[in-house]
Symmetry: D2
Subunit: 407 residues, 4 copies
């Protein structure tokens, strides 16, 4: 017996974009059922379709789960009520039935009016500011007693992500993750998108792993900074440490970058590099006194390009400037992302790429470059579905990208 029910509407390219079958799958997989109360199918590829569906479920909890998932497909409750909210009673604790966000564009209905949720990111709550008639995302640990938080599924509208058929530039990369593709084409495509992003004033974020330095590709990133294609950098202790190590001693992880030779014992150089910067006090000071004269960090600092360096439990040192507290680091990453990032390139990084993916709105063009297909897959699995993966060599990728952008 299905006692709980709701009626939802879906409209747009709901068959073409596979929205309708996914909706039906969702309902049945969760143990619900449905009746199509009304349906118009667009007869050609340019026509939109419409469906009004009555969803039934054995109980209210199941119905809740179903409706919340249908919302992510763009379903809107027929009887559009305002969002329901509850008040936070304890710092850092959400109401039990809090609405958990996706990274998609989301609207909430306040006083009969749909308003956009600001600072959208996945897996956080939505706080309502009634005074200014606004709504914004807030992570669990940042809510305070008295905050008004969205609960349940009334009055929420999610705008699903649709890839345009004809002019989707990333399409050829997104179909699947494979190293057996023509990558030069993909690189040229990425270069073009970077130019377009910059032309319209959008910012580009680079998330970098230390292999960028180990492979000698730091020089290409430095060049991208100089030519204006990098507006923010995220990474960890390793990327800055090896970048500065290579600037100070010419090595990275004990490898002479000029000759490619293994310098055994050179692994101590990264500790020496950290100690040398700690000795002068900071990266800024190291630049000021002429100790640090090139590299990614140098190029970024002299241009006031924000580098958010989040530490990790495996760090030595750490290098001054690396943030030890994870919640502070996440907070700084959020600020940078919300300040105009429109494109993100994640190169040879797993931990920081996933962390950044968690914070990125789905609208940010995201490219993940790694020689290991598992990294690319992992990011998608964790919800950063908009990420286009390129399974290739980071060094040769960056070399080709710089060449293409310089033309």
């Amino acid at each position: 017996m299905h006692t709980a029910h709701e009626v939802v509407e879906l409209s747009g390219h709901i068959i073409d974009s596979w929205t309708l079958p996914r909706a039906w799958d969702t309902i049945m997989d969760r143990g619900g059922n449905f009746d199509v109360e009304e349906m118009h199918v667009g007869a050609t590829k340019n026509d939109t379709s419409y469906a009004r569906i009555k969803v039934t479920a054995p109980d209210e909890n199941t119905l809740d789960t179903i409706i919340s998932q249908l919302q992510q497909l763009g379903a809107v409750l027929l009887q559009a009520n305002d969002v329901r909210t509850e008040i936070v009673e304890q710092d850092g604790v959400l109401p039990a039935r809090f609405y958990s966000t996706t990274n998609l564009v989301t609207q909430v209905r306040i006083n009969g009016q749909w308003i956009g949720v600001e600072r959208i990111e996945m897996d956080v709550a939505i706080a309502i500011d009634r005074e200014h008639n606004r709504a914004h995302c807030v992570p669990m640990h940042e809510v305070h007693t008295g905050d008004e938080i969205v609960v349940g599924h009334d009055g929420i509208r999610v705008i699903p992500y649709t890839r345009e058929r004809d002019h989707e530039d990333f399409a050829f990369m997104q179909s699947d993750v494979s190293s057996e593709k023509v990558k030069v084409l993909a690189i040229h495509n990425i270069a073009r998108q970077m130019k377009e992003t910059r032309a319209r004033g959008g910012k580009i974020l680079f998330v970098l792993g230390p292999a960028v330095i180990h492979t000698g590709a730091g020089r290409y990133v430095a060049e991208l900074i100089r030519t204006g294609y990098v507006q923010a950098i995220f990474g960890g202790n390793a990327i800055i440490t090896h970048d500065i190590e290579s600037a100070l001693y010419g090595t990275s992880l004990g490898v002479q970058l000029q000759s490619g030779e293994q310098v055994e014992g050179g692994h101590r150089n990264h500790l020496r590099a950290i100690n040398a910067i700690r000795n002068v006090g900071s990266v800024e000071k190291a630049i000021e006194v002429g100790l640090l004269k090139d590299g990614i960090t140098y190029e970024a600092y002299i241009r006031n390009i924000p580098m958010v360096l989040a530490g990790s439990i495996r760090d030595d040192g750490p290098m001054p400037g690396v943030i030890s507290d994870m919640q502070i680091a996440q907070g700084q990453m959020r600020e940078v992302i919300q300040d105009g990032i429109e494109m993100a390139l994640m190169i040879s990084s797993m931990l920081h790429a996933i962390a950044t993916g968690n914070l990125l709105p789905a609208r940010v063009r995201t490219v993940v470059v790694d020689i290991n297909p598992a990294v690319v897959t992992k990011l998608s699995d964790r919800g950063t579905f908009q990420a286009a993966g390129l399974v290739t060599d980071a060094e040769l990728f960056l070399r080709e990208l710089v060449e293409e952008l310089s033309e």
Copy 2:
């Protein structure tokens, strides 16, 4: 012209254990040269050998590098001076020529007497406590103005790691990393070593990644805790969150552990689990009020088994008890390790396994279990050379281990 020189002695099974050729390699690779001033070769496998070698190098810096590496092979300077030290002049900054440790047993000479370095771990400094005639390891960020730190290479003795030929139980795993081995034998061997370790009062550390929970293997770890084979647990936000999620809702990452079915939308359960524990305030409180009644976390807490949970930049929540600050987390891990850990099993974890490897003395028997050979390789590459790798399925490994230990 080689103007700098030192004379070193090597003794023991230096040919059998490949120490001598490695020493000569080291000298020549670094640009030095050598004369064998005296050499006795053991004629049979039970005899030890001895070599006195004059090392020459083009300059003092090169000689320094060579000698410091020879020390890691067990070389001792002929003219054994006391260790040289310098005083820390600024909190968190080491003297430029500080001696960087290995994870091997190390001695320093103070007032003509060799004393052991306490709390040994790799890539840190050695502080001297003259008052009590002691020496101990100290990470860079924990040194304080006035601390006396070992510099250079005088008066330092490293006891090299030698695998016993006949009775080395891990030998068959260490030869190389491969999934094409007889793993049941290896598992039985590990079980036997765990029994021996416990029989002599040694403690066993488990480092766990969340896949242990996702694969339903949490039950086996809980059983190992109950039967006394787990004395400490290291992990991150994910392992505790999914463990508690499975205890509260029966799912892990949206998978029903009983049925193996994907519960789409169940990915929210981990947020619900965190929020539920935050709501009561702590894991202890959750157990007290009867909210948390089983699982790894439950079994560990009720037995006062330390769980050090180090956060990371990709975390949601976090769960109460997870440490956000990396330096505090490293500090707690150090305390636990130094408190009697003699064996470490690292299962399906990369970040926390590497972090733990950084802190473990080489004498701790270390087993790394992962289905991905790259994880095993990475740990060795970063200096945890004592780690025996087992490329296999964590779930089936734990199932077999529990069965074997129960016999």
Copy 3:
């Protein structure tokens, strides 16, 4: 201008099974367009739907491509003509417009009557035997002058593969390839299906790679043979050679299977094993004279279980019984598959698993077990979409499987 057109019908669970949106995607991706001439949507999950669609394309070639792909989704041309055929004019050469099969159940219309295509497998041609009113698959190199081969897309009906929603036992494995799943459940499920397959007289095929022997898991396969769960074995020179090596000398690839110890130089044992069997002449003879007394090969031969061993370019020897000619080997594999195989387990094999996948009808339950996720993915990518992948350790998988089947 779209001048070419056809009208097709689709019916059944075409929305629920995502058939309709895939059909529309197909049409538009290929540059065609469509009009929905008639459509009935099932209102509940138990109702079927119907659509009649007019497909238009800019030219006949494009229309051909579109229609042939729609057929794989179950579309049937409204004006059902008989199949069109052309006569082979040269041995081993097909008519240029030959119809290339899928591994799905397929029917052709001859004299107004739909008849099933026998011996279905992917990427081959269909030959018509007018005399007996039959149709069967034929590989390119086996066609002969005078054969009548299906061309174009008239009169062809493909029954699409639909997973049943409620009782699909493999569903939990098929959603994606991951090592982070509860594998014990999957293994029990596979065991149950093997029992059911045997209960109804179906045959089970094992495709085995040499790692099965190297890991000491040969004993489990031998046990499965003895207990009646293996009706055919496919593999290469390596599996039989190492199996016989382990039977004769107790080693596999130089590893003592009893102790797990590396026996350097033992790598010669596989050559000795081959030479020993060559010396007596054949495996049968080796059994007869008492040289070969256990192992997979022994158990299979004494029970007349067919082993098709296809050589490869990297083989030593080869072992007597291994087929050097690839076309002969493929032919024997086809015979065995068509003789009642209803389930296939492919374990630690890539080359032979892909080769077998090419020949299997989609209706054969297929399980691929490998510790490397890439192997599982590769098989699906090449068209064996029905394969359920289990990323786990072959040795522990087989151990658990034997234990479960013995209960």
Copy 4:
């Protein structure tokens, strides 16, 4: 009690090159023991050393094993007898105690005189031609009744492989397999070696997998053929089929190489390509009639560059020119290799790379390029230890290589 014994001599850089400790390891690992009867150690890195060692073992069989392994390290029996031989009594069957070769330079003593073994490759036997005083390698299946085959270990000398310390160009790649290296340097190094090889008239072999075509990198290989850097090509059905598919239809595995777009249904193009060539009869004929006008196959055929294409069990077709019988294919590969190959590049191929590795003398400079580190490791594990691995993207590797060679 050790009753069996032999005395062997080792000389040269036996400590520096780790030969001596490996010899001692070998003896003890096999259960033997030794006495150093005489030893001179070179005092500096330029001096050679000498050791005369009495090896004892519990029985003759063990001694045999030990001596045969010591020979691979360059040990020579003190009492140098002539090689011992036995006569083949049955086609394709070796004497039970046949000597199994390595891929190292090997000499045998006939009538008191050391002569080189011709056509050296690993895992085969040595046949003696007394009439002409020559010795050559022969695979098991090619021996004939009456052939005289080397048995035991008398009168055999293996010249061990020593890497030169100072001028070893591949050294930086060989230390370990990692994607975290500076690859541009390695590529330039390979380019330089190719130039040197060609300058002295040496031939370069390319072993190619189909990913070379799928990634659009076929054009770079074609360019290398045109500029004289390719003297032989090994591959399988896939590389030639996709190369010709791309020449005829512009696609590879259903991907438009110009645009990078997936052409669903384009997977049939490889069958069409095979059928088209079968239709005209052969590749030569296809070129003659103007059907095939570019691509790797075209460029190779018009220059009479040998392409040995060995089929495999997973092949469709096959394409004319692909060899179905593995022993015939191996035979042809042997002929090509022995005809002056001095360098081998293996790109994105596993099966054919391993097969080629089996046949290559250790003196052939071998470079393995693959994005998957496991391929590189596997080749070394199987005895092709001289292979230098480069874990990188084949497409970008070839692009950079062509650019560097054109300068």
